[in-house]
Amino acid sequence: MTAQRPLALVTGGAGAIGSAIAAALVRDGWRVALADREAKALEAVAQKLGAINAPYHEALDVCDEESVRSFVSRVADDNRGLQGLATAAGGGPAFGPRALFWETGLDDWRLNVETHLVSVMVTCHAALPHLIKAGDGVILNLASGAGLRGGPPMSRQKYGEIYSLAKAGLIAFTQSIALEFAPRGVRANCIAPGRAENGRRPVADLTRMAVDEERREPGSSRMSPLGRFGRADDMGEAAAFLMSTRAGYITGSCVDVSGGVRLH
């Protein structure tokens, strides 16, 4: 009899980055439990990975604390353990309106911070007792270059104040739990994508946008020094590495996966 493969819960698992993380984890020998608000897309991702690799999935909103807690405990109980957590939910309408900060209000701020920070705290809080029990549990939170640099994903883009706030908060939160739970065997890290493809914008669209922007405002192109935008797979690889035993001595770090954008 072979030992059961470890299980990782992935939120935002139907999104471009979340599903890429799930796929990379499965390739590395994990099984995944997927949560996402988009039921149809979630079904498709679960089907593609197969029931053996993705034995659990549930359509839920990460801002609904009860749903998150009950999914985590249902999965951990049924599987008799949970070894990994990757949080990749966010973006979309939670990013907020394209408006100057002083034209926005409390409801916009709350939606953004609840989605990108508080929901992750809730998910980690629910998963941590199981990850501690696993002995070598691991957490991977999806931060953003916005949380490292201010303004997503580079200085010329506007209207990113609250998203930057939430993602910087997420990085500090991850450091705080990395330190706190290191003695109990849990590692916690972040990855910070730069401008990368997402469900609404594939790389081709991003490239077209950059060409348009460059025409309107010469010198404004946000292409990375590596000459392209981020692919979801780039994030999946970085996440899977940090969650693997190869990264067994890495905790509390935030890996910049922006193609070097931070350098210019």
């Binding site: 604390e65 100057l100 900060f101 002083w102 926005t104 209000g105 409390l106 701020w109 709350r110 911070v113 920070l117 508080v118 705290m121 809730v122 809080h125 941590l128 007792p129 916005a146 949380g147 640099r149 201010g150 303004g151 200085s155 010329r156 506007k158 209207y159 990113g160 104040e161 609250i162 930057s164 706030l165 939430a166 993602k167 910087a168 908060g169 997420l170 990085i171 500090a172 939160f173 991850t174 450091q175 705080s176 739990i177 990395a178 330190l179 706190e180 739970f181 509390g252």
Partner: protein
């Protein structure tokens, strides 16, 4: 901006607030205090409509004002985190929004937010508090870019965490390399500099007045 200018000081009652106001008043600034623990919008509106405001100093509330103690993350609940965010994030943002709109109208102004060094590196047991302070530090960098063209500067100060100071692995209190500082007066002096005309080409930056605490 120089002495004689009118400032709003947003924070909670306590030694930091007292020290900062004293340091700024000693430099001839007129300070109007807004208590973040109370309902603020009407107070802010009244101050803004009674005349030009040149500067805003945000003092993020220390843990004791938030009812926060340093406890195991697993013993906390989401209500605890939201209490921190309500004052140190949404309270600060609310005041900043009102004052920014006023400053942009006058095409000048300077904002300084005073945060704790827990935001530079998250601290166990102060999880939401660390996140809130890191958030406001990054908000400052991001906001600086959007309000520069409106003539408004925004910066932040990192003060040492006085209520839960850094400790070594054995739990012993670690003194900052420069020794114990004067907290309120030290922060007030840095705020006065960032508000002044001498800092007219400084925006989106962060001055660390923790006595070197953040380095270790």
């Amino acid at each position: 901006m120089a002495g004689g200018s009118r400032l709003i000081i947003a924070g909670c009652a306590g030694s930091l607030t007292d020290g900062v106001i004293e340091a700024l008043e000693a430099r001839n600034y007129t300070c109007e205090f807004v208590d973040l623990a109370c309902e603020t919008p009407s107070v802010i509106d009244a101050i803004l409509s009674s005349g030009r405001v040149d500067g805003l100093v945000n003092l993020l509330a220390p843990p004791s004002n938030l009812g926060v103690s340093q406890t195991d993350f697993l013993s906390q609940c989401s209500r605890d985190w939201r209490r921190v965010l309500d004052i140190d994030v949404y309270g600060i943002l609310d005041v900043t929004r009102a004052v920014l709109a006023h400053m942009c109208l006058h095409r000048s102004g300077s904002i300084v937010s005073v945060t704790s060094n827990v935001g530079l590196r998250g601290v166990p047991g102060l999880n939401a508090y660390s996140a809130a302070h890191a958030g406001i530090q990054m908000f400052t960098q991001s906001m600086a870019q959007d309000c520069a063209e409106h003539g408004v500067r925004i910066n932040c100060i990192i003060a040492g965490e006085h209520e839960f100071p850094a400790r070594d692995a054995a739990g012993n209190y670690r003194e900052p390399p420069l020794g114990p500082g004067k907290y309120g007066p030290d922060v007030g002096a840095a705020a006065a500099f960032l508000l002044s005309g001498e800092a007219s080409h400084i925006t989106g930056s962060c001055i660390d007045v923790s006595g070197g605490w953040s380095l270790s």
